[in-house]
């Protein structure tokens, strides 16, 4: 009995840090409509700052707690900097760019933490005066856990008072609903946004700091907590602080009891719980349906047009160049072009989902990696031939997409994005942790194509056929009735439902199709490298795809190709540096700030109409004369 009670209390204790982080994310999102992907990094920084401050001032009991609060304040200052320098310029940009920018911040923070605190995991200091153990019905329990249990409800109460009993809180709640209106009533929105962002950052920092005596600080904390925070926010209901608290408790309990019942299966349990809750209550435990109207445009409303005459010439020329490439370039460059083509297919599949479907997925690498692992597992365990494994790769990825998509399409907008990210993190965890099958971090090796296809040139042509074929197939689907139906669900769900379109089914099929195409790219990748590692499913890989789409511009279907090339180039240039993440992160942030339309988008903006890269909507229509003839 005592064991269970202590287990329950331990669950409550770990819920506190999770709740702090999740409430911060929720508050920031509510007002600024930015899902702060760097939130996990703020949590991590809280832990690191806490570690250092405790060393500096944390001698006594008071010093320890002062150090933790200082850590929260320091993270708040980092938040202030991020808001002032980056986000403030992006509030009017499409959501995607804000998210990509905060992802850049993740990379910068990772390398900054590596530089400042080193790569070793840090063991957290113990809280002076609270190092003891109490016995509850005979079972020992750390005193510090009891303190943690109190922190969550206390912060909850403080937040409730702040939001319901102060003018600032009223304004924040008002801005959560209609921030433009709040501005028109004489409230300085920028100040409000900055304040909220700092508050949210501080909560994340405090969360990271208070778990220090239990969990310490390490460089993998950021993505770990991010996925958990997303799950908490989705389960609790976005924008509801009470919901976040409930969900944090629920999930922490599940984790602590799950370890007793099914060690190693806690992730699965967590996602079963999430699935059940989302089916019963799609808006989360205490969430409200998204209010429609007065919300910023997602940025994908541009119509895709069939190819114009010059565009066809351009594509033909590009294809001819690619076909002739082996004659002109050396093997190293040929491998590089193969990589670019594979990535272009990967990025195009995501672009299809985003532009035609309006579905921004942050976990698309799950399917890229899914395809790669399908192929690799088939080769390793079923000794299946290369040809079969390559063809089954999209099938495996598609099936994974069917399962994940079935949950995700129940949500929309940022909820959808968050859930895809959380699922991708699960897929990564499985690949990473289930080492009996996947060989964990060491990856699966020896995944080579059949002898006939193993030459660089032959494989290049094979990749060319599959990648170009895949991209053309995607383009074909965009202009098929399916693509039109999908675009209809993006343009107006109201109208789409009213004319008998089953929105979820249309979106799910699109998700599966895009997943399968990403899986094809993943399969090709596995065979081109001869190995697969969990990295191919990781969140950073998902962001690579987003980055390629961003570099290429979201509004043109040819963008991903440009994006893949630019990405590969950048990546190869920067990876040689020790702190390459810092450079990549800074580059991302700079690119987003400088070219909010993407590189190709910016170029097209100036050249597009002039060069007739897309068919002119008015010219695509039958001319009046032809119409008259028909009549």
């Amino acid at each position: 009995m005592g064991v269970y009670l202590v287990q329950f209390l331990t669950g409550l204790a770990s819920a506190s840090a999770l709740f702090l982080a999740a409430s911060g994310l929720s508050i920031i999102f509510g007002v600024t409509r930015v899902v702060n992907f760097a939130h996990g990094s703020f949590y991590m920084l809280g832990a690191y700052f806490g570690f250092s401050f405790v060393q500096m001032v944390g001698g006594g009991a008071i010093g320890f707690w002062v150090a933790l609060l200082l850590a929260a304040v320091a993270v708040g200052l980092v938040g202030l900097l991020v808001e002032l320098v980056i986000l403030r310029r992006l509030y009017k940009a499409p959501e995607l760019f804000q998210l990509i920018a905060t992802f850049g911040v993740i990379l910068i923070v990772q390398d900054a933490a590596l530089w400042a605190w080193g790569a070793e995991d840090l063991l957290g200091p113990r809280a002076p005066g609270l190092t003891g153990i109490v016995r509850i019905m005979g079972t020992p329990m750390p005193v510090y856990d009891l303190v943690l249990i109190a922190v969550g409800p206390l912060v909850l109460l403080a937040l409730w008072l702040l939001f319901n009993r102060t003018r600032w809180g009223v304004l924040v709640r008002a801005a959560t609903e209609d921030r433009e209106m709040v501005g028109a009533l004489g409230v300085n929105q920028s100040l409000l946004f900055t304040g909220v962002f700092v508050l949210g950052s501080m909560l994340a920092g405090l969360g990271g700091a208070i778990q220090l005596p239990k969990g310490g600080a390490d460089l993998l904390m950021d993505f770990g907590i991010l996925a958990e925070v997303f799950v908490v926010t989705v389960v609790g209901g976005m924008g509801s602080i009470f919901g976040a608290f409930l969900a944090a408790v629920l999930i922490s309990q599940l984790n602590t009891f799950g370890i007793l019942i099914w060690p190693g299966g806690t992730l699965v349990l967590m996602f079963i719980l999430m699935a059940v809750i989302l089916i019963v209550r799609p808006t989360g435990l205490l969430g409200r349906p998204e209010t429609v109207g007065h919300k910023a445009a997602a940025g994908f409303e541009q119509a895709l047009r069939p190819a114009g005459p010059h565009y066809k010439l351009f594509v033909g020329g590009l294809l001819a160049c690619l076909a002739a490439a082996p004659v002109f370039v050396d093997e190293f460059q040929l491998v590089l072009i193969t990589d670019i083509m594979v990535l272009a297919l990967f990025a195009t599949s995501l672009h299809f989902l985003m532009s035609t479907g309006g579905l921004v997925s942050f976990g698309h690498a799950a399917f890229y990696g899914g395809g790669a692992y399908t192929a690799a597992l088939l080769v390793t365990y079923a000794a299946s031939p290369f040809e079969l494994a390559l063809l089954l790769a999209p099938l495996g990825a598609g099936m994974l997409a069917l399962v994940i998509g079935w949950f995700c399409v129940r949500l929309s907008g940022v909820y959808f994005a968050m859930l895809t990210l959380a699922f991708a993190q699960v897929a990564w965890s499985v690949a990473f942790q289930w080492s009996e099958v996947t060989n964990g971090d060491d990856g699966l090796l020896g995944i080579w194509p059949s002898l006939w296809a193993s030459g660089t040139q032959v494989f290049y042509y094979l990749a060319l056929v599959f990648c170009v074929g895949g991209i053309f197939l995607i383009r074909r689907v965009v202009f098929a009735p399916f693509g039109y139906g999908l675009r209809a669900t993006r343009d107006s769900t109201l109208r789409a439902a009213a004319i008998g379109i089953d929105i979820k089914r249309q979106q799910l099929m699109a998700f599966v199709f895009a997943g399968a195409m990403a899986g094809l790219a993943g399969g090709l990748f596995a065979f081109s490298k001869g190995s697969v590692f969990p990295d191919e499913m990781s969140i950073p890989r998902s962001f690579d795809a987003l980055l390629m789409v961003l570099l290429g511009g979201v509004e043109s279907l040819s963008g991903p190709f440009v994006g893949a090339a630019a990405f590969t180039y950048l990546h190869d240039e920067l990876i040689t540096f020790e702190y390459w993440r810092l450079l990549v992160g800074s580059t991302i942030v700079a690119l987003v700030l400088l070219f909010p339309q993407g590189l190709a988008g910016a170029a097209k903006h100036h050249l597009g109409r002039f060069l007739k890269l897309e068919a002119d909507p008015e010219a695509a229509a039958p001319s009046p004369r032809r119409k008259a003839r028909e009549a």
Partner: protein
């Protein structure tokens, strides 16, 4: 096709029979025991103050929100419990208060979209949809006088034209009942009369029954065959223009002292 029986049924059954419809939102009874019939070919106006439950009624009729209890029968067939898509297939079309079209598609594509959906082609991945169902779409656009702008994107149309496109879209699957939510909201007086005249003519020609909500009393009194009045979730009056205009309860809860309608007669 069981055409004969349908026609036979249509003669003795109302197009739409609504019985004891109820809906509560978190303890607030939004719609209470609402019952009415919509006869074939009838233009029935549903009026009432904002928040009286008109939108909730509409949303229940086309399946967007589930009713707590009650019954909605389309020519004798129960509709409650079906998804919006299924109710649409069975012949209940809808236009929205704020126009809802697909702004990235052309006018003709907007209409063609309905036809693709109706003919269950939405899971076709390979054939081109660029000019699909163009002829039929043009016929429908001809009905509402929009062929001239068939190839402009919907995103650039004027408000009045969007309303016409919506009408063509609603007629796309030849509905038996059309629900129109404030069809003339946001339009100038003459445009209002034109649009309502067009709608009335079309439903007359095509034998469609229309239920519409409206705040412009000139439209209501000028075009509705019959009027029902909703207040605080319940029906408080039913009748022709003359009866409604003189109903004391309606005057108190909705029409007021008559200052701001009736200009058309000046």
């Amino acid at each position: 096709m069981s055409a004969p029986s349908t026609i036979e049924r249509a003669t003795d059954l109302p197009s739409l029979a609504v019985r004891n419809l109820n809906k509560a939102f978190g303890g607030v009874q939004a719609v209470r025991d609402v019952s009415f019939d919509l006869a074939e070919g009838e233009l029935l106006a549903l009026i009432g103050p904002n928040g009286a439950g008109k939108s909730t009624c509409f949303n229940m009729l086309n399946g967007q929100i589930p009713a707590d209890s009650g019954s909605v029968r389309l020519a004798g067939e129960e509709l409650l419990g079906y998804a919006p898509a299924e109710i649409w297939r069975r012949g209940v079309g809808r236009t929205f208060q704020i126009t809802a079209t697909f702004p990235s598609m052309t006018v003709a594509e907007n209409v063609a979209m309905v036809l693709m959906s109706q003919q269950r082609e939405l899971f076709s991945f390979f054939r081109s949809a660029t000019h699909r169902h163009r002829d039929r779409a043009m016929e429908l656009l001809d009905l509402v006088g929009m062929t001239g702008q068939a190839d402009r994107p919907c995103g650039v149309l004027s408000y009045g034209d969007l309303k016409r496109v919506e009408l063509a879209v609603a007629l796309g699957n030849t509905p038996r009942v059309l629900l129109m939510d404030e069809p003339t909201a946001g339009m100038a007086p003459r445009e209002r009369l034109e649009l309502m005249g067009l709608a009335a003519r079309l439903v007359g020609d095509l034998g469609i029954s229309v239920l519409f909500t409206e705040h412009d009393m000139d439209i209501v009194f000028g075009h509705a065959d019959r009027i029902i009045v909703l207040s605080r979730g319940a029906l408080i009056a039913e009748g022709n223009a003359e009866q409604i205009r003189n109903d004391p309860l309606v005057l108190k809860t909705y029409l007021g002292e008559g200052q701001i309608y009736g200009q058309a007669e000046d």
